[in-house]
Point group: C2
Chain length 437, copies 2
C-alpha cells in the first residue's frame, strides 16, 4: 500500500520526539498500522540549528506554508504551538484537504469551533489527543470508550507544572516561589510561568474536555479560572491536618440546565485517588452514568508522552484514510500476519522479590541457618520479621522479603530450607513486585 | 441513514443492562453516533421469565441461531457467556458476515485465535472491550491510544471479586472464608467461586491483554496462574508491617526474547497506585517506552459498566460500517449539528465545600462572632482549626472547612466577615470537592 506522507510543522522538543518515536518504533508501529508512515517534510525556524533527532530523508524548509501546500503531503502535524501562525497554517492545511494532527491546546481551546467547522466542510479530520494530558489517551477514552455514557462530571490534574509545584510545597515545605524556581530549574516550568501557574493552560485543556464530555462548543472564555500563586505552604499544612490535600483541578460538571467549568485549587480528601497523584503527573477522573467513576493517569507533558499521543492520532488518521478492511484496528492490535509466537517464560525464570513465611522450631541458631541458606543461594534480604504468636506454640514464625532474584534460585533455596530439621511444613510464598508510578 | 439492527444473545444481567443503557441514553448516543442503533431480536432461555429491562419492540426467541441467521440483523451481541454455545454462535454469526460484540473473556481467551482468523476471512470485526476490566476502556487504550509505543509491561487488578476479598481481609481482618462469604452475599462472587478465586478469570483477561500488548497469539494455557485461596489474614498484616499490600495481579512483561504472563498474589509497596485500589474496582497499569507509566481505573464488573463497554464497541462497529465521513468519530465527540450551547454556570452558583483562613484580633468572642455569621448565612462547618503562629503576632488564625453550600452564600458571608472589626485583610479562600472513587 502507498506510504502516507506526513509534513511536520515545528522540530522542537515535541517535533523531534515525534520523529524519534516514529524511527525507533517503526517496526512495532508498522506491525500495528499495516502501513508505512513517513515524515517527508519539516518546517523549522532555522535550518542550521542542531536537531534533537535525525533528519535523513526529511526535506527541511523555513516556510511552513510550503509544507502545508505541498500536494504530496497527506497529513500535517502542527507542533509549532502558539496561536496565530498555528491557526493560519491549520486552516490552510484543511483548505488543501489535508488531515491535521495537533498538540496545540491553546489553538484548539480558542479556535477549535472554527477549525472543526472548516474540517467538516472540507471532509478532513483534525485530531488533538496530545493537547490534553500528554500521553494519556483521555480524548479517546471520553470520545469513544465512554461514548455510551451520559457524562456527569470530570475532574482532573491537567497541568503537570502546577502539580509538581504543589507536590514540592507539600513534601519539602517549600513556599510557592522556591517550588516554582525548582520547577524552572528542572525544565518543568517556562521562564514565564504565567500559563501554568495562573491556570490558563489548565483552562485550555478543560475547555476541550468539557466540550467532548457534554457536547457544548469550546468555551474557554467562560471558564472560571484561578491559579496557584496564592497558595501558601501553611495552607497545605493546615489542609493536611484536617485530612485534605490541595490539588489544582479542572472540573466540568452538569447542573440542571447548565454546566460548570472551573479551574481552581481544590481541597480533596487525602484518601481520594486524585489526592495521591504527585509530581508532574496528570490524572483525569471521569464519571459516566453507566460506568461510574473511571480514572486515567500518566505523564502530562514531555517529548515522549506527547509524541506517543501525536503518533497515535497519526495512526488513527491513517486507518481512517483506508476505506478497505485492512485499514481497520486489528483484533489483536497487530496485523494478523504480524502476530509472533514469542516464547512464554516459565516461572523459574521470573525475576522479582519474594515473600515467604515459614514456621520453625524456636531453637538457638535457626535464624542464622536460614539466613545462611539465603546467602548460599545468593539471595539478598529486603526485610525480615520474627513473630511468636500463640498459634505457633513453642515455634516461631519467620517472615522474609527478599530483593529481586531469579525464581529458580528461590525454588532451590526452598528445597534446602525444607531439609532443615527445624522447618515445619506449610511454607507460604508470594511474589513482590515494584511498579514505577 | 438506515438504522443498524442488532441481535442480542442473552438477556441476563449484562444483556438487560445493555438494553436499558441503549434506551436510557438513546438521545445522547444518537448525538454522538449520528445513527440509530436498535436491538430488534433477543434470544433468551425462557420466554416467560421476568426481565430486568423493557422488551417492547424486541422479538424474543429461545433459538439463538435464529437470531444469528436472521438476514435483517447487522450486528450480533454475544452476552450468554460460557464457552461451547458461545463459540458456535459467534462462529456462525461470522460466517453469516455479521459483526460481533462480545463480553466473553472465557471465549476470547480460549478461542480468540480461531475466531479472529474467521472474522478476518469473512471481513467482519469481533470486538471485546467488555471482556477485560468491565467499563474501563483498556483494550482501546492499549490497541489504539498507545499504538505508537513498544509496551514494556503491564500489571493489573483485573478480577474485582478477588480484590474485594483482599480488601475485606485487610480492612476487617477477616479470614479468606469469611471474606468470600461476604462477597457471595453481596453478589460479587458466584456460588462456585473457582474462576475468581483460583485466578482463572484473571488469566483469561491477562491472555487478552498480553496479546494486544505484545502481538502474540492468545496463550491462556501458558499463563502461570495462582489464586488467592492460600492467603491468610496474618500474611496481609505482616506484609503491611513491612510497608506492603497484597494484591492479586495479572502481569505481562517482555524479557529478552521471551514474555512473562503470570497471575498471582503480589506484594506491592503501600505507596504504589495499584496498592490503593480497593473493593471490587479494577485498575491496569501499562508501561510504554514513549509514554512511560499510565494507569486506567474503574469498575471491573456489573451491569452498567459492562454495558458501557458493550455499547461503546457497538458504536465503534457502527462507525466502521459507514464508509462515508459522517460515520467518523466527531471532532467534539458529538455530531456537529448536535453541539448545544448549554449555559455555563457562574461561580456564585457553584455548590461545594469551602476552605478559608482568616487572621483576626485574638479577642474574647471572636470565634463566636465568626461562627455566628456562618450560622446566619446557613453555612455548616465541617472542620475548624485555630492557630496562634508567631507570624500572626497577637492575632490568631482561624481556618474553617465548610460543608457544601452555594458559593453565593459564602461570598455574602465573606462580605459580612470583612465588616467585623476583628478581621484583618488577606482572607485566603479555596474550594473543597469530593470525588467518589
Amino acid at each position: 500500500m502507498k506510504p502516507v506522507n506526513v509534513g511536520l510543522l515545528g522540530l522542537g522538543t515535541v517535533g523531534a520526539g515525534t520523529v524519534n518515536l516514529l524511527a525507533n518504533n517503526a517496526k512495532e508501529i508498522g506491525r500495528r498500522a499495516g502501513r508505512v508512515v513517513r515524515i517527508t517534510h519539516a518546517a523549522v525556524q532555522n535550518l542550521d540549528k542542531p536537531r534533537e533527532c535525525p533528519t535523513d530523508g526529511i526535506t527541511l524548509t523555513t516556510d511552513p506554508f510550503a509544507v502545508v501546500n505541498d500536494p504530496d503531503i497527506d497529513v500535517v502535524l502542527e507542533l509549532i504551538g502558539g496561536e496565530d501562525d498555528a491557526y493560519k497554517l491549520v486552516m490552510a492545511a484543511i483548505e488543501q484537504g489535508k488531515h491535521v494532527v495537533t498538540a496545540n491546546k491553546h489553538l484548539i481551546a480558542l479556535h477549535g469551533n472554527e477549525i472543526f467547522a472548516a474540517a467538516d466542510k472540507h471532509d478532513v479530520v483534525v485530531t488533538f489527543e496530545a493537547a490534553v494530558a500528554g500521553g494519556i489517551p483521555i480524548i479517546k477514552a471520553i470520545r469513544e470508550g465512554l461514548a455510551a455514557n451520559h457524562i456527569e462530571w470530570l475532574a482532573g490534574i491537567i497541568n503537570g507544572t502546577g502539580n509538581f509545584i504543589l507536590s514540592q510545597m507539600k513534601f519539602e515545605g517549600a513556599d510557592f516561589a522556591e517550588a516554582l524556581a525548582e520547577a524552572q530549574a528542572l525544565g518543568y516550568a517556562e521562564a514565564d510561568p504565567t500559563f501554568d501557574v495562573d491556570g490558563i493552560d489548565a483552562a485550555h485543556k478543560l475547555a476541550i474536555l468539557g466540550s467532548i464530555a457534554f457536547g457544548i462548543p469550546l468555551s474557554f472564555d467562560r471558564i472560571y479560572t484561578q491559579g496557584i500563586r496564592g497558595i501558601h505552604a501553611d495552607d497545605i499544612a493546615y489542609a493536611e491536618e484536617m485530612g485534605y490535600r490541595i490539588k489544582h483541578l479542572g472540573i466540568a460538571r452538569r447542573n440542571d440546565g447548565s454546566i460548570e467549568l472551573r479551574v481552581h485549587p481544590t481541597l480533596v480528601s487525602e484518601k481520594a485517588l486524585l489526592a495521591n497523584v504527585e509530581g508532574e503527573k496528570n490524572a483525569v477522573m471521569v464519571y459516566g452514568d453507566a460506568v461510574g467513576p473511571t480514572v486515567y493517569y500518566g505523564a502530562g507533558a514531555g517529548a515522549g508522552p506527547t509524541a506517543s499521543a501525536v503518533v497515535a492520532d497519526l495512526i488513527d488518521t491513517v486507518r481512517m484514510m483506508s476505506v478497505d478492511p485492512t485499514g481497520r484496528v486489528p483484533h489483536l492490535a497487530f496485523q494478523p500476519d504480524q502476530i509472533t509466537d514469542t516464547p512464554i517464560l516459565g516461572n523459574e525464570g521470573f525475576f522479582c522479590g519474594h515473600y515467604f513465611r515459614v514456621q520453625v522450631a524456636d531453637e538457638p541458631g535457626v535464624m542464622s541457618r536460614i539466613t545462611g541458606l539465603l546467602a548460599q543461594h545468593e539471595i539478598s534480604i529486603e526485610a525480615i520479621l520474627q513473630k511468636d504468636p500463640e498459634t505457633a506454640g513453642d515455634d516461631a514464625l519467620i517472615i522474609i522479603v527478599t530483593k529481586p532474584v531469579i525464581e529458580g534460585q528461590v525454588m532451590k533455596f526452598f528445597d534446602s530450607l525444607d531439609d532443615l530439621p527445624e522447618t515445619r511444613p506449610g511454607l507460604v510464598h508470594m511474589r513482590v513486585a515494584q511498579f514505577e508510578d
